[in-house]
């Protein structure tokens, strides 16, 4: 047993880089998946719509932690041994894509129907309308909740600690196991998370104010 | 003795002076119609009487008591004064009956039965007894406004204030509300009403007060005022209301 020192803080900060890396992976992967799903959700092909909607319902209706366990413990039984970071990246990507899909679908559908109608009456195809007319306009309403969900992603990466990946939360546990000073250790961990998340929250709020849309109600844990 | 006495009332919003040195006495049982262009300060004057707007100078005395901006005295005051707004402002989450009885139970501590009896009485008075269980959204504008009047009447006020209560209503619906108000006037209720219904003012009011740029510009009994307006502003105003 030894005291909590600046050395430990350095260790936590180093681990926080993995939190950032994992967040980035989940953001990029989830963004791509979310885009595909969002297009599926508004597709004219009924089967695609149902499939995307089913995926979203299942992912949003089950805990991220369980999804992570399935990837981490479950897949290894199938013979493919996933390292914690790969399992976490996959789980976070698939989870985030469902949420991004819903955020973006909402943004796309917030664009007045008249835009679709007037574009198609100009002879644009459905895809051209989406690409040149609707998407550029949905960017504005989509941006604040997208940034807002990034906060959620960063916090969600902490679950990787529970499959043993040494990111910030796991590093906190490790330091606590040595120092037995949970209060300062986890307070420090919380402060680092706060330092990452707060700017994103503030940015999201600022963007919201700027877009003049009514305030999005943030939900999360 | 006058039930409402305003002397030298001044009111501004920032740099904008809305009421300049307004003095007015309203006798018990009188019906006073406040008329004037939009923005002349009529609503503000009305709202100063029940303390919804604090004043910057002068004095408002209602029923012998000075209107002060502290919660206890305002609560007391407002039990004596009913106010009806242009936009009805019924409580949308409550039934018509509960709209009427809410203040009875919270303020007058009436039991549910007592409250219900009062609700039945005042709702009958405005012809809406059968709507007790409805929600405001299920009623027409005219019916909602009559409920709003009933809600105020239930508190047995000594004075009723009406702020353009028919302005949001279609012509057919206006009539049913005006009829209720006329009935109240006949029964001797003291009323101060802001209105654009000049015929109604002519017929029902004992006194018409013309407001212009935050001042009482001209006042008197309608018979004289409308027949021989003294100021060019009031003459113009009357002409504009004849569309």
């Amino acid at each position: 047993m030894r005291t909590f020192t600046s050395h430990d803080i350095l260790f936590l900060l180093q681990a926080a880089r993995w939190t950032l890396a994992l967040s980035l992976l989940a953001f990029v992967g989830g963004g791509l998946g979310g885009a595909i799903l969002a297009v599926g959700r508004i597709s004219r092909v009924r089967a695609l719509r149902s499939l995307a909607s089913l995926y979203i319902q299942v992912v949003q209706g089950t805990p991220l932690l369980i999804q992570l366990f399935i990837w981490y413990f479950g897949i290894s039984l199938l013979g493919a041994d996933l390292s914690p970071i790969v399992a976490a990246a996959i789980a976070l990507t698939l989870y985030s894509s469902a949420f991004f899909a819903e955020i973006w679908r909402g943004a796309i559908q917030s664009i007045a129907k008249g835009q679709w109608e007037s574009a198609s009456s100009l002879g644009l195809t459905r895809f051209e309308t989406l690409w040149y007319v609707i998407l550029p306009q949905s960017l504005r309403p989509a941006l604040p909740p997208t940034v807002g969900f990034m906060v959620q992603i960063v916090k969600n990466t902490s679950l990787a600690a529970l499959v043993g990946f040494v990111e910030l939360a796991r590093a906190g546990q490790l330091v606590n196991n040595i120092t037995f000073q949970p209060l300062p250790v986890f307070a420090c961990v919380a402060v680092i998370y706060f330092a990452i998340c707060f700017p994103l929250s503030a940015l999201s709020r600022w963007l919201e104010r700027r877009t003049h849309g009514h305030r999005q109600l943030v939900r999360g844990t | 003795m006058a039930i409402v006495n305003l002397s030298g009332v001044r009111k501004s919003y920032g740099a904008l002076t809305v009421l300049r040195d307004v003095s007015l006495a309203v006798e018990r049982g009188a019906v006073v119609a406040l008329v004037g262009r939009s923005g002349s300060g009529k609503s503000t004057l009305l709202r100063c009487i029940n303390g919804l707007e604090p004043i910057d100078g002068g004095e408002v005395v209602v029923d012998g008591r000075r209107v002060e901006q502290n919660e206890a005295s305002l609560r007391q005051l407002r039990q004596e004064i009913g106010i009806v707004f242009q936009s009805y402002n019924l409580f949308p989450h409550l039934t018509v009956e509960r709209n009427v009885t809410l203040a009875l139970s919270l303020v007058k501590k009436m039991s549910a039965q007592e409250g219900r009896a009062v609700a039945e009485k005042v709702l009958s008075q405005v012809g809406l007894r059968e709507k007790m269980a409805a929600y405001p959204e299920q009623l027409s504008g005219g019916q909602q406004q009559r409920v709003a009047i009933a809600r105020s009447l239930a508190m047995q006020p000594k004075l009723m204030l009406f702020d353009e209560v028919t302005s949001a209503l279609d012509p057919e619906l206006k009539e049913e509300v005006l009829k209720v108000m006329e009935g109240l006037a006949r029964e001797g209720m003291t009323m101060i009403l802001v209105t654009h219904e000049m015929d109604f003012a002519r017929r029902v009011a004992d006194q018409v007060v013309f407001m212009h740029q935050g001042r009482i510009h001209e006042q008197g009994p309608p018979s004289r005022l409308f027949a021989e307006p003294e100021t060019p502003e009031f003459r113009q105003f009357i002409a504009s209301t004849l569309n």
């Binding site: 999804q67 413990f73 949970p182 919380a190 998370y193 998340c197 844990t221 | 707004f85 989450h93 929600y135």
Partner: protein, 226 residues
Amino acid sequence: MSYTFQFGEVLRYWPLLVQGAINTLVFSVIAMVAGLAIGVVGASCRISSSRVLRAIAGAYVEVVRNTPLLVQLFLFYFGLPALGLRLSTSQAAILALTFNTGAYSTEIVRAGIESIHRSQIEASTSLGISRLQTFLHVVLPQGLERVYPALASQFVLMMLASSVVSAIGAEELTAYGNRIQSENFRAMEVFFVCAAVYLGLTYLMRVLLAAVAYVAFPRRRALGSV
């Protein structure tokens, strides 16, 4: 790569799974009710005229929203004993969930309250109703009704997130799932079954929350039937 699913190996443990589901639901309902209470108080502070109250409530919301539930849980479970307050796993779990969802509820309830037009307050106080009574009988019910969908989805999110309390060994569905898979080594099946149970809980919560709305907001009922 051949793997035979053997769900029988998991379903054998059904009493444990049922108990886990019940515990998860109990944790969630307690945290939901307490969190809503915090939300109402917190929202009142956020809009109060007292600068200090506004700052405290604001800080609470920001701290919770910008740190992970898992870390909050660790602070309660491992940190509080350092201050002389030892909590059982269930107590720490419920406390963390309540603390967490209370912050989100604060912001949601605040939005609801602020969406109620000032004219409602004027109409009420003009009848002689006090400010506090106006808040309780006029503003709050309407505000809650308006943001109820957001509150309901927040509560479902919280129920799902409650699986992290298994990290301190709090006795709920995920923890039982972990226990089962450590006995039968059937992780895949165990967590699939858990996922299915959570999905069922999600729908159950939605139904329950709709039922609550049905009772709590009679106006909706009346207008729906018109």
